[in-house]
């Protein structure tokens, strides 16, 4: 390791991101020059070609709505035809378009960006916060993702890191990172659950931690459930009420919608802290006669709890699943760790306490603990010898497509990684020179209900009568949770050529072009938010 060379830990969140490094053996969160410790994952493209990232960019969601991208994590690694993308198109003020191979692109003025390029700008900001602080360049990072992220989403996040000019040492699961930060330096043997409710995703991981071992026993999640959904409930309530009173639907105008969204997020935070939220947005719209109208409402805790109860209950269905996979009950757990901003809400804390029959651990910052865990892991990968071991699992069952729209299990969910499994295939036709397989992740045996990871085409094996050539396909899931597929001719051992088709990801060429583009992008320094 070169003198002074360090690796940083980045929690790349749906709503907020955070960066941490190891100083004197302890993880510390690095604030930006305004003293802010968490940074909105918002990218605002300014008229002069510079880019604003973070809390100052967040203010532009209203004033520069078309050119300000937020919640990009909800879209990263998704296909254009997915429901999440359709939903985003309806509510996001920025323009979401289709790229090649069913991929998603964002159009800002005359420029088109892939999702990894947008996330790369957030990562670049995190990188420069540390560089400002240390006074020298950093090149390596551990970046966290929701444990329930599939291969496409992990690969896209890794690409984002590379585009930002970072060598991504590891894609680390957020709950695992939190557990690492919790158990780091403590000599404890415990079974714990990490309840991680972020801005856009929910994860639960059950771990067994020992002196130097962090073993994930199971993980489960919902990548369509987060704090944003709580905001949406308040938004619907406010908009419906306004419609009833004034006959104007605020949701029809993207400008009004953004003001409504901002007010809803603030109301959620206020009601969580003060048990009541006074909502007031001046000049939210004009009535047909041109009179400027204000939005005013009072949200009580009881009302709020009623609105979001079903969302809270949904998290516990996922908890049931994780405990069952770990062959445990809530009573077997020694500690509960809460992660993510929304876990500050009293409704979450009391529901979690009720479900697990245990008070969640105090003294853990739910906004910073993931970045700190990432920094610990980054530090230990940089050292020649690690003094703790993360034994993590794959969250989703890996499958291969079979005839008639069905799939077959290859590697079961909650299997420790890295792992590999081989399967032999044979040709169906005389003289066949290609074998194609499609791989999926998901828990249904129907292909349509799983996430397609890609189609692989193998060629360059012997050409013979049907059934004579046997091709052994090896499926590997690496320590990042990323899938690799290779194939070899069983008889000759000759590796075949693998071509990836039908993938939402970026090609090497595209990544290199994006790296140059991102390196040339000037990050503007906004004022403190």
């Amino acid at each position: 390791m070169a003198e002074g060379e360090i690796a940083i830990g980045i929690d790349l969140g749906t709503s907020y991101s955070c960066v941490s490094i190891i100083e004197s053996g302890q993880p510390v969160v690095i604030p930006n020059e305004w003293g802010e410790r968490t940074h909105a994952s918002v990218v605002s493209f300014l008229e002069d070609g510079t880019v604003l990232v973070g809390n100052s960019a967040k203010r532009n969601i209203i004033t520069n709505a078309d050119n300000t991208v937020y919640s990009a994590k909800r879209l990263i690694g998704r296909f254009f035809f997915s429901d999440e993308v359709k939903k985003a198109q309806a509510v996001m003020p920025y323009k979401i378009i289709e790229g090649e191979n069913n991929s998603v692109r964002i159009q800002i003025r005359e420029n088109v960006y892939s999702l990894p390029e947008i996330s790369a700008l957030v990562l670049k900001e995190m990188k420069s916060i540390v560089e400002n602080y240390l006074g020298h360049e950093v090149k390596k990072a551990v970046v966290t993702v929701p444990a329930y992220f599939n291969d496409n989403q992990r690969q896209a996040t890794k690409d984002a890191g590379r585009i930002a000019g970072l060598e991504v040492l590891r894609i680390l699961n957020e709950p695992t990172a939190a557990a690492l930060a919790y158990g780091f330096g403590k000599d404890i043997t415990q079974k714990i659950a990490v309840y991680d409710l972020g801005g856009g995703t929910f994860d639960i991981s059950v771990l067994e931690i020992g002196k130097d071992v962090f073993e994930v026993l199971s993980t489960a999640g919902d990548t369509y459930l987060g704090g944003d959904d709580f905001d949406d409930r308040i938004m619907t309530w406010l908009a419906d009420d306004f419609l009833k009173k004034n006959g104007i639907d605020l949701r029809l105008n993207k400008y009004c919608l953004q003001m409504l969204k901002e007010a809803s997020e603030r109301a959620k935070i206020d009601v969580g802290r003060d048990a009541v939220a006074k909502i007031r947005v001046e000049g939210i719209c004009q009535d047909p006669t041109g009179k400027v109208m204000d939005l005013e409402a009072t949200l009580t805790e009881a009302e709020f709890n009623r609105m979001v109860m079903d969302l809270v209950q949904r998290t516990f269905k996922v908890c049931d699943e994780a405990l069952q996979s770990a062959r445990m009950t809530a009573a077997d757990l020694d500690a509960i760790i809460l992660v993510g901003g929304p876990t500050r809400l009293p409704i979450i804390r009391t529901s979690v306490k009720h479900y697990f029959q245990k008070e969640p651990m105090a003294g853990i910052d739910p906004d910073e603990v993931v970045a700190m865990g990432a920094a610990i892991q980054a530090g230990s990968l940089m050292e020649a010898k690690s003094d703790h071991y993360l034994l993590d699992v794959t969250p989703l069952t890996l499958r291969v497509g079979t005839v008639g729209g069905y799939t077959d299990k290859i590697i079961e969910k909650n299997t420790p990684i890295p792992i590999e499994r081989s399967k032999a295939y044979t040709t169906n036709r005389d003289g066949q020179d290609k074998v194609k397989i499609r791989i999926y992740q998901g828990e249904s045996n129907k292909a349509a209900e799983c996430e397609l990871l890609g189609e692989f085409e193998f060629s360059g094996f012997r050409i013979a009568y049907r059934g004579e050539v046997r091709i052994e396909v090896t499926f590997e899931i690496d320590t990042n949770g990323i899938v690799h597929v290779t194939a070899a001719d069983v008889e000759t051992g000759q590796k075949t050529t693998t071509t990836i088709r039908l993938s939402s990801g970026l090609t090497e060429e595209m990544i290199r072009a994006a790296q140059a583009k991102t390196a040339a992008t000037q990050l503007a320094r906004g004022a403190a938010a």
Partner: protein
């Protein structure tokens, strides 16, 4: 830093990986209990976890360690599960040991195929077969045999239909000798 003994050991282990069963991979006896298995897994993880060798410049050795560790995980997944472990132990204690050193579960498709083989792949075949089974349960063996024969006209190669037909046939014979 890594000592030379470990280096030699790891290289040697990678060489013979495909000849070892999961008990040998985890260095435990076939009678190991769940606690033994877990501590063996932790012990081997301490030795071979790839994170420990992240900065290793020797890429050949790094690759060997990666292969060993994947096999350690594979062994743990199988042996920590009682059902899989029982089947695996039978597999590696049998004559086909060499071929069954790596545990492979019957695929969903194969299981579906087996299930179909059992009760049939055609609607008519299944109908007569099920009727035959209820006749058997009610000890109406002649009726059962007729139904199994009818089922076989739809699926002449179904081995389960054949064996049930033969079973019903034998029971009819027994019946007659008693009378």
């Amino acid at each position: 830093m890594m000592d030379e003994t470990f280096e030699i050991e790891a290289a040697a282990l990678a060489q013979v990986l495909d000849e070892l069963d999961y008990f040998q991979i985890l260095k435990i006896g076939q009678g190991a209990n769940p606690n033994d298995i877990k501590s063996a897994y932790y012990r081997e993880s301490r030795a071979y976890h790839p994170d420990r060798f992240y900065q290793l410049p020797n890429l050949v050795l790094k690759d060997s360690i990666g292969r060993i560790y994947k096999r350690i995980n594979e062994a743990y997944v199988c042996l920590r599960d009682d059902v899989k472990r029982t089947k695996y132990l039978a597999d590696v204690s049998g004559p086909e040991r060499q071929r069954k050193l790596r545990f492979v579960e019957a695929s969903e498709q194969e299981m579906k195929k087996d299930k179909e083989q059992e009760i049939g792949t055609t609607p008519q075949g299944r109908k007569f077969f099920m009727a035959g089974l209820s006749d058997m349960a009610a000890q109406r063996f002649s009726a059962a045999e007729r139904n199994f024969k009818m089922a076989l006209t739809y699926e002449p190669n179904n081995p389960n239909y054949k064996s049930k037909r033969d079973e019903a046939g034998k029971l009819i014979k027994n019946d007659m000798t008693i009378r």
